[in-house]
Assembly symmetry: C2
Homo-oligomer: 377 residues x 2
Amino acid sequence: MHFQTHHRSSKCPARTGLLTLPHGPVATPAFMPVGTRAAVKAMTMPEIESLGFEMVLSNTYHLFLRPGDEIIRNLGGLHKFMNWNRPILTDSGGYQVFSLADLRRLTEEGVEFASPIDGARHFISPEKAIEIQQNLGADIIMAFDECTPYPCEIEQARKSMELTLRWADRSRNAWTRREDQSLFGIVQGSVYPELRAECARRLVDMDLPGYAIGGLSVGEPKDLMYLGLEAAIAELPVDKPRYAMGVGTPLDFLESVRRGVDLFDCVMPTRVARNGRAYVRGGQRNIRNARYKTDPRPLDETCPCETCRNYSRAYLRHVNQIGEILAARLLTLHNLHFFQQCILDIRKAVETDSLDELDTRWKQEAQEFDRESETES
Amino acid sequence: MHFQTHHRSSKCPARTGLLTLPHGPVATPAFMPVGTRAAVKAMTMPEIESLGFEMVLSNTYHLFLRPGDEIIRNLGGLHKFMNWNRPILTDSGGYQVFSLADLRRLTEEGVEFASPIDGARHFISPEKAIEIQQNLGADIIMAFDECTPYPCEIEQARKSMELTLRWADRSRNAWTRREDQSLFGIVQGSVYPELRAECARRLVDMDLPGYAIGGLSVGEPKDLMYLGLEAAIAELPVDKPRYAMGVGTPLDFLESVRRGVDLFDCVMPTRVARNGRAYVRGGQRNIRNARYKTDPRPLDETCPCETCRNYSRAYLRHVNQIGEILAARLLTLHNLHFFQQCILDIRKAVETDSLDELDTRWKQEAQEFDRESETES
């Protein structure tokens, strides 16, 4: 892995860069669509490629349970399995074990849990998480961590952070496929800037290829999220990539890039699409709204995506209402295009030192959207 | 509308031809994918186009109920609404009114029924069916008919056929958009060849642009279906297109083309795909079968479709098992590609007078597939 920063803002820690991985380059800042179970919901990978995405995320926990990492390894690895020859990042399974698994038992060694699919008992340790990820073969793999919920007392957050640091060290020791997989450590520490800073410092001592900030967007107020992010990034080396896990909305991207983040992932653009919601400049449209029943306009009149070029709001409402798969496809495609466009706008704003102007423009668009919605409804 | 036959078999009534419609040409024999509610399930229309289909079918009954034919007309018609600029055929709603609607009341005038969506009372007469289809704007529209169930006594079948003939005449009188829509009559008569022949003769007296054979594939034995088809086609003019409604499987296409049919539609390739079933040479694979769990081969090793070029059986089984939309997409794409390939094989066999050889080959493939399945399971 090679990471080169291109342009650094004169006003803030924002930067553009190029991450070069075994399966190709990733221009940063970058948004990774989420392909939880080796598929980006409603999409094919050629569609993801033609939308301009250069890296996707896939979930270790889900693939471990089904179809199993050894099956994927024997079929030639995750890239071949899912028909995607660009970079992949796999998470470590930590977050999912703590949010989705049943009958969890946490020890120093790792986490024992029951599969929600069939109740079978499983055990994931840092060593096991790395073994699974080495079987999957992603370009970037993540250390196994404990993700603390919000709210969380500082004593608990410190205890958990210490465990995450010991697990990061064990993850690093288990990591053998160093020639074509890069291990990122995960900064935890809840909403406590002093813990975030300490965790970051101690991870940097492990000299890993990259660093993620985890445990964000778990229900904490935005200002606390950004304080934690700032405290962590202040300790991270400028020449290594930084990834804000599970973040977020376009405005979150902008605020995070301002603080020096390079990589993002979020299920929102794909998830809300399946519920009939479309991101447009300034807000979201719920295509189920009766006002769209006869509306001949595209979702967003300024959007050049395939959905907006070819389908009316009335048609999108119709296919959503009758439960056609096409509704999920067309809205997902639009939402992912919208997210990619936001990232491109941010990249350009970093390069022209105009993040403030972009911020102002987006906030104006939000006001206009709200006014329009009030007029229409 | 213009219909030109190209090659006529020396051995049987089979022929190839070209149907020229306001939205373009349709080489025949042709299979029309079914876009019931202005969408071919799991697909986009550009995908249908790139699979080589030149005409699709859409359902009057469904579109009348939702979103409503006037909404579609005001949005510029069905072609624009669904993003398909090639020919469309709409059925008349007769079949659906008799198979899907609640609380039906049949009179000489038409059919009153309750919408299964909201219970609202509706009335469709021949005049109303034509009005709806004129609002939708398909290239080919169908006369309103009564579709008799199977089994059906001959007295009932005759009574129903007489009603269908009176409704055909009323449909023709209501049909005003003659410059860009062609009306097809529908031959009924259940499994009684003498009724089929009489119905065909009396429809031909109405001098319509084309003729369909309806009430097939409703549960009757195949040999009776083909006797009815033969009796009808013997009375139909050779220079007008013939459409076997709701037929069928690839072997049905072959048998029907031998008897002089030009057009087909069927929901099977799209419907079974959503249940995990793939058509392959000689049979169907159920991708849910545990034997595919680690199978690196494509669905069909001889198939050049996108699904077979890019995905293993193991992956298709995985995405089906976890309920991903992608499973429905990839299997539907493969099945439609398979149906189109069968039609192309048939067209070529008509042109080279080798339908018997094609029949023999397909039957051999079916035997081989059965043997292979027995060996594997």
